[in-house]
């Protein structure tokens, strides 16, 4: 069972604030999600490698430069910007 404390810890790591009502709901959701994963695990206990389900390896890219995007494009969705930089609130 996922506890309230675990949800609060994850929220804290993700820099999210969670209200008491949300906390109950999130804990319930998280338990359902994990329960779902448990169901899948129980359905095929012999499968061990979910990590690399296609058995693929070594999909590489050659080291050749492709022109980068125009800075205007890069900054287009920035909430705040200055002098070519993304501008965010100071933290820490």
């Amino acid at each position: 069972m996922v506890t309230h404390e675990e949800i609060l810890n994850i929220a804290n790591l993700a820099k999210l604030s969670v209200s008491p009502e949300e906390l109950d709901e999130l804990t319930k959701d998280m338990n359902e999600i994990i329960g779902f994963a448990d169901t899948i695990n129980a359905a095929c206990p012999q499968a061990s490698d979910f990590d690399n389900i296609n058995g693929l390896s070594n999909a590489f890219r050659e080291d050749i430069v492709v022109p980068s995007y125009d800075r205007e494009e890069i900054l287009k969705n920035a909430e705040s910007r200055d002098d070519g930089y993304f501008l965010v609130k100071k933290r820490m």
């Binding site: 296609n54 390896s57 590489f60 080291d63 430069v65 492709v66 980068s68 890069i74 930089y85 993304f86």
Partner: protein, 472 residues
């Protein structure tokens, strides 16, 4: 009073000198206007997919081979989660439990081996500038490939830490995978430090000093932190396990975050990247590509060329220097002469490490080779070699353009004796000074002979002859 011993391990980040970033095709070039080396992948836009740069894997394997590591045949990438504006995806793609290289070592000059736990590949974060009350973010560096080299806590002194780092720098430059410039941030390290009473085995509580970007700072930070911990231990207080930063202005270390705020990175496999498989073939191919490593090269210079250790180390400091030395000494009788020319005359024209590393010298190694061969064949004397080399360094001309046939062949013994006798006759005061015990007085007479023979005579020979003649 108890004596304490340092227990130290380093985590070293080295930027790889690939053309493109680790997961996209943007350039890795240093500098550039902010956010001009970026694309949707390296600014972490949703829906984008990373694609691993083959050369990053190759370079990391080369780094592993050059530091005696085992190369993992199966490896993968993982997500390291943390929220900070330098990381647009809120996770860094790194390697957690299956690094590319493991269990290596670097040998120090005192014979101690510093074991390497692992070398893994990961992406660099963007650069933050905190000013005018806000944080300015530039993602040009975001996604530049890094290797992180983690050592075991085998380092026992500041000097060992410096030498270990210098050795890494030298090796990585030699194999050509990074320029390892600490001042530009392409090499930086975190230092883990604890102290224990001399003679005991058990490790003390450690602190980690983050982001050292120069050898001098590292030495100062270590010195401060060692003393701080010794003071605590001696007064019976406990060292707190924490992350600290070095404050340059006050020359001290200060706490950044304690154990209770230690990061919980929630590593898990990067599902967007497939497994990395490394075959024996690839490892062998890369092994063949590796140049002779500096330590081995220096040893060979000492054994095969009879160079003193100091010379051998100077000539293997950078790859270009050793390549030049090897080309210039091809087939010469005494490679020590070439070494002397380079260390004495050529190095003095190069200011700073950067100049030595680039080794852009007007004299081609072939021309230096030709000059030294003239000495080998007895056609010129050492002093003419030296003055000619100076001219070559100024003009870039070949020795054949600077030394005429007349200058070659030294000076006829009869003529030399005559010149010496003349110089003695012309400098009676110097002669009596010399006979009176002032050995330096001989230099004046020597100078007169060298002038008369236009520098072609061998100074040592002249000196001998003068002493003979005067004492007669």
């Amino acid at each position: 009073m108890t004596n304490y011993e340092l227990v130290c391990g380093l985590e070293t980040h080295i930027e790889l000198s690939t053309n493109t970033k680790i997961f996209c095709s943007c350039t890795t070039e240093f500098g550039g206007d902010p956010n001009t080396h970026c694309c949707p992948v390296c600014i972490g836009l949703p829906g984008t997919l990373p694609k691993l740069n083959k050369r990053v894997v190759e370079y990391a394997i080369m780094a592993g081979l050059a530091t005696n590591c085992e190369i993992s045949r199966v490896s993968k990438m993982d997500r390291k989660n943390y929220v900070y504006p330098d990381l647009p995806k809120a996770y860094q793609i790194s390697q957690y439990d299956m690094p590319l290289c493991k269990n290596g070592w670097v040998e120090l000059s005192n014979g101690r081996k510093i074991r390497l736990t692992r070398i893994h590949i990961e992406e660099d974060a963007g650069k933050l500038v905190h000013q005018r009350g806000g944080t300015y973010v530039d993602y040009n560096r975001g996604g530049v490939p890094l290797i992180e080299i983690v050592s075991e806590p085998d380092i026992r002194s500041i000097d060992e830490a410096k030498e270990y780092l210098e050795k890494l720098q030298l090796i990585m430059r030699f194999i050509g995978i990074s320029d390892c410039k600490m001042q530009e941030g392409s090499m930086r390290c975190d230092v883990n430090i604890s102290m224990r009473p001399m003679g005991t085995e058990k490790f003390g509580t450690r602190t980690e000093i983050k982001n050292m970007n120069s050898f001098a700072h590292m030495a100062k930070a270590m010195d401060y932190e060692m003393n701080r911990q010794i003071d605590l231990l001696q007064s019976g207080e406990a060292v707190v396990q924490e992350t600290r930063r070095y404050n340059e202005e006050d020359d001290c270390t200060e706490s950044m975050r304690g154990k209770e705020d230690a990061h919980d990175y929630r590593y898990f496999r990067e599902p967007d990247l497939v497994t990395i498989q490394v075959s024996d073939e690839i490892v062998n191919e890369l092994k063949d590509k590796l140049p002779e490593l500096p330590q081995k090269k220096a040893k060979r210079y000492m054994e095969d060329f009879g160079l003193p250790e100091a010379d051998a180390l100077l000539l293997t400091q950078y790859r270009k220097i050793s390549e030049y030395f090897e080309a210039a000494s091809k087939g010469v009788k005494n490679p020590k002469t070439v070494a002397n020319c380079m260390i004495g005359q050529i190095f003095s024209r190069l200011e700073g490490d950067g100049a030595k590393e680039n080794f852009a010298v007007k004299v081609t190694p072939e021309n230096l080779n030709a000059l030294v061969r003239l000495l080998d064949d007895g056609k010129i004397r050492m002093n003419l070699l030296k003055t000619t080399l100076e001219k070559m360094l100024d003009t870039g001309k070949a020795p054949s353009e600077l030394i005429s046939e007349n200058d070659m062949g030294g000076v006829d013994p009869g003529a030399l004796k005559a010149a010496c006798e003349q110089a003695i006759a012309a400098n009676p005061n110097a002669v009596s000074d010399y006979l009176g015990g002032k050995e330096k007085a001989l230099k004046a007479i020597l100078g007169a002979v060298m002038k008369a023979t236009r520098g072609r005579a061998d100074a040592m020979e002249v000196e001998k002859l003068l002493v003979q003649l005067i004492k007669k």
